[in-house]
């Protein structure tokens, strides 16, 4: 009986040591950025168009909610957080002040929903090029995002994904 209990205790000690080691390696690595952007992309648009768009998945692996309050890019005059809404058969876009990314959660910026509206391109777009975007959080933190420029019909990112 006692031997069993000791065994359990030893396991617990080893267990917490392992957890501690994992925390020590994981926490400093993610402390730099509270949020990560995944699959960030900008649909290629023909030259002359003054308004582009960026889509991405924002992942919060942390234990506290994060709030995106603005975004900017040296490639554009300005960026607005937008949401497309269809109400009573009418399609509209509304600017939104902030986007909350819940703890251990994610938010999708995807076609016909939340998106980053990129206004006033400063240089021509090239397919496979990148747009560097900075997301600002209400904590003052900045999150760097590199979004690849793709054609809309590229597999997995177009209007319709093939299975």
């Amino acid at each position: 009986m006692i031997g069993h209990w000791l065994e359990l205790r030893r396991l617990a000690v080893i267990g917490s040591a392992v957890v501690g080691a994992v925390l020590m390696t994981v926490v400093p690595a993610s402390a730099g950025e509270s949020l990560q952007a995944e699959n960030a992309w900008v649909p290629w648009a023909p030259p002359g168009l003054k308004v582009h768009v960026a889509y991405m998945t924002i992942v919060n692996r942390g234990a506290i909610d994060q709030i995106i309050v603005s975004a900017e890019s040296t490639d554009y005059e300005r960026i607005e957080l937008h949401r497309s809404v269809i109400k009573d058969g009418v399609s509209a876009m509304e600017a939104i002040g902030e986007v909350k990314v819940p703890a251990n959660g994610r938010v999708e910026f995807a076609p016909t929903g939340l998106h980053l509206m990129l206004i006033g391109p400063r240089r021509p777009q090239a397919v496979d090029g990148h747009v560097q975007i900075v997301l600002r959080l209400n904590s003052g933190e900045e999150v760097d995002v590199s979004a690849v420029i793709r054609r809309r019909d590229d597999a997995g990112h177009g209007a319709h994904s093939h299975h």
Binding site: L49, R152, H160
Partner: protein, 208 residues
């Protein structure tokens, strides 16, 4: 014993009904009780050639409303319509394939970019725009609306517009409307069935 089997049948039927409802729900299509003529309008296509209500005759058309400063919903719809037409190509004869027409409702900003904006989705897509009063006539003809908001301090303004796509028959009449989401395969099937039904309805008179 019998009861259990009955239950199983009921469950199966319920599952089939649920599945069928889900499958049908993927197309938000409405067919008008009777076709509605599109009133006369005069616009220009993206090559600067006149485009009138008569330009809708002789072929099926899918007409969507939008503007070129729309980076999200309008390109999404155009990309979906390109896929719808591709899917339709598997279901109907080439001469029944619809022409996709983008009615651009923000002419000052749309004119310079209209062709580039539209043909990036398919070289056969046609962008049309023109004077506001003529745009409004065309909108009315396809039972759509567009509202241009007042410009902000920077001179930017938003445009809200109908999300539906109008289906125009070869007589130039509004016969159906499709609303989002425009899932390619079910939308193509909806259109193929509609085209087939209309061609059959005309068949008795087509022998003359």
């Amino acid at each position: 014993m019998l009861k259990r089997r009955e239950l199983r049948v009921v469950a199966t039927v319920a599952a089939v009904v649920a599945w069928a409802t889900m499958a049908v729900a993927r197309v938000n299509g409405v067919i008008l009780d009777s076709p509605a003529s599109v009133q006369a309008f005069t616009l220009d296509d993206h090559n600067g050639k006149p485009f009138t209500a008569d330009s809708l005759k002789g072929h099926w058309s899918l007409v969507l409303t939008g503007f070129t400063s729309c980076p999200d919903v309008c390109p999404f719809t155009l990309a979906n319509l390109e896929q719808v037409v591709a899917e339709l190509g598997l279901r109907v004869r080439p001469d029944r394939l619809p022409t996709v027409i983008f009615l651009a409702v923000d002419p000052d900003r749309d004119r310079p970019n209209l062709k580039d904006y539209v043909v990036q989705f398919h070289p056969d897509f046609i962008g049309v725009t023109g004077a506001i009063d003529q745009i409004d006539r065309a909108l009315k003809g396809i039972d759509a609306v567009a509202v241009r908001a007042k410009p902000d301090a920077r001179g930017n303004y938003q445009v809200t517009h109908s999300a539906a796509v109008a289906v125009i028959d070869p007589q130039g009449r509004l016969v159906a409307k499709i609303s989002p989401p425009f899932e390619p395969a079910p939308t193509a099937q909806f259109l193929a069935d509609l085209f087939h039904q209309r061609e059959n309805a005309r068949a008795p008179g087509s022998g003359q």
